[in-house]
Symmetry: C2
């Protein structure tokens, strides 16, 4: 099986030009096939503010109204996506920037309203991921750069969660590739002590995750990340890691002492 | 040879939601391989104005400063591109939205400063168009939707002219495809009398174009369009037409009574 590395980067790296440049150089040097999933950082919030669009949050989640989905499509699928592609190409790669509606990579439905109406937010139809086309692009030596935007069958643009996109793609491609999935964030892994940057837990599995949750070590935003990671491991992704973007080269190789390795 | 239709649409259609919907439905029904090149309409100018970025024009051409290239990348390669892709997909197609830096489709240099510094504007390197990848995408039954944005080898994003992009792509693909190139605009063709919408000239060639220029029938914005069209005809594009977006189905078939057919 050929190797595939799927990396998700978040706002903290995108908002910092020097950090993004370094990350692109490092990511560029990883051997084998590569997919990069990115969010959009503060830029979408800033642009919304400048345009007088109020950012609505419910339970820490952004509500995507009709104006907001236009803004995130501009920022994520437009500026950030093409900036990263151009930077990767300047390093001698051939990168292609896409979102989920391109070639129907990530067909989705508008999230059904249960308690909260999230607005123009999508839930990806995992069984319909266009793995054949992703395979074609990878075999043509493209690095795929994916923005977390897609559309439903009606042609409505939808905002999707970048962690979920990375997880879904990694799972879907695991039948054909020995896949490593790395979620990058601003910490060196899942920290045993939130104030100690050097307290990253080397290994977490489903049982120890449960214990860490009860102890309150895993909480808030880390909860869905760990759930996603364990699910990925169960669904065939060979290696799943959480760590710092500045360690991406070591994380992609699962080098000892870098990040948290999550298994089922 | 398989058939390929390359269509360029401009701001007038993009700014009008009903017209765009009708255009997408019509374009969708054209047989054979298809590439759609779009501009961005008033949206980029409006967004710049809202963000307090002054639009600088010299001789009717937009000067693209560092802030403006970000705005056009957001609007062209982000919102407009993905909106059209989602609409095409909702019609049962498989469309893919790209700009010139994706898979190095349209390598370019920053336009050298002679009399005017156009800023972050690119000149496409015609010999380096990635025709192999366009061929791969078309053979996988993708409709390619192209935004007029690219990058240079340094990774700087550049604004490029949509008419030129359509011309360059049509010329480059003509070795492998029997290509029809249609420039859509808000008139029914090259008009003999500017006030008479029904005075479209059926055929123009290089000699008659020269005469029409001297008579002042071809002037202003139509001059570069006709030059592009004649060049395309000389460079192997089977059919080159100028006409109204609402006639796209008839234009793609070169039906009598629709648009102006340009030949060398």
């Amino acid at each position: 099986m050929e190797k595939l590395t799927v990396v998700k980067i978040g706002g903290n790296i995108i908002d910092n030009e020097a950090a993004l440049k370094q990350f692109v150089a490092d990511f560029s040097s990883i051997q084998g096939h590569k997919i990069l999933v990115h969010g959009g950082g503060k830029l979408a919030t800033e642009l919304s503010a400048k345009l007088g669009i109020e950012t609505q949050m419910v339970d820490g989640r952004r509500i995507t109204d009709a104006e907001t989905v236009k803004v995130v499509t501009m920022v994520y699928a437009g500026l950030i996506n093409k900036l990263i592609v151009a930077m990767l190409n300047a390093h001698g790669n051939t990168a292609i920037g896409l979102c989920g509606t391109d070639s129907k990579l990530l067909p989705a439905i508008k999230r059904p309203v249960v308690d909260i109406d999230y607005g123009w937010v999508g839930d990806v139809l995992k069984q319909e991921v266009n793995t054949a086309f992703i395979h074609t692009l990878l075999q043509a030596n493209n690095i795929i750069v994916l923005a977390p935007i897609t559309a439903n069958a009606n042609g409505d643009l939808l905002n999707i969660n970048a962690d979920t996109v990375a997880t879904t793609i990694a799972e879907a491609m695991s039948a054909e590739y020995e896949t490593t999935l790395v979620y990058c964030f601003e910490k060196k892994g899942v920290l045993l002590s939130v104030d100690d940057d050097n307290s990253a837990i080397a290994n977490i599995n489903e049982a120890s995750a449960e214990k860490l949750k009860q102890e309150g070590v895993i909480n808030k935003g880390m909860l869905p990340k760990i759930s996603n990671a364990i699910a990925a491991s169960k669904n065939g992704v060979a290696k799943v890691l959480i760590g710092h973007a500045e360690d991406i080269k070591a994380l992609a190789l699962n080098m000892e002492g870098y990040g948290t390795l999550i298994s089922q």
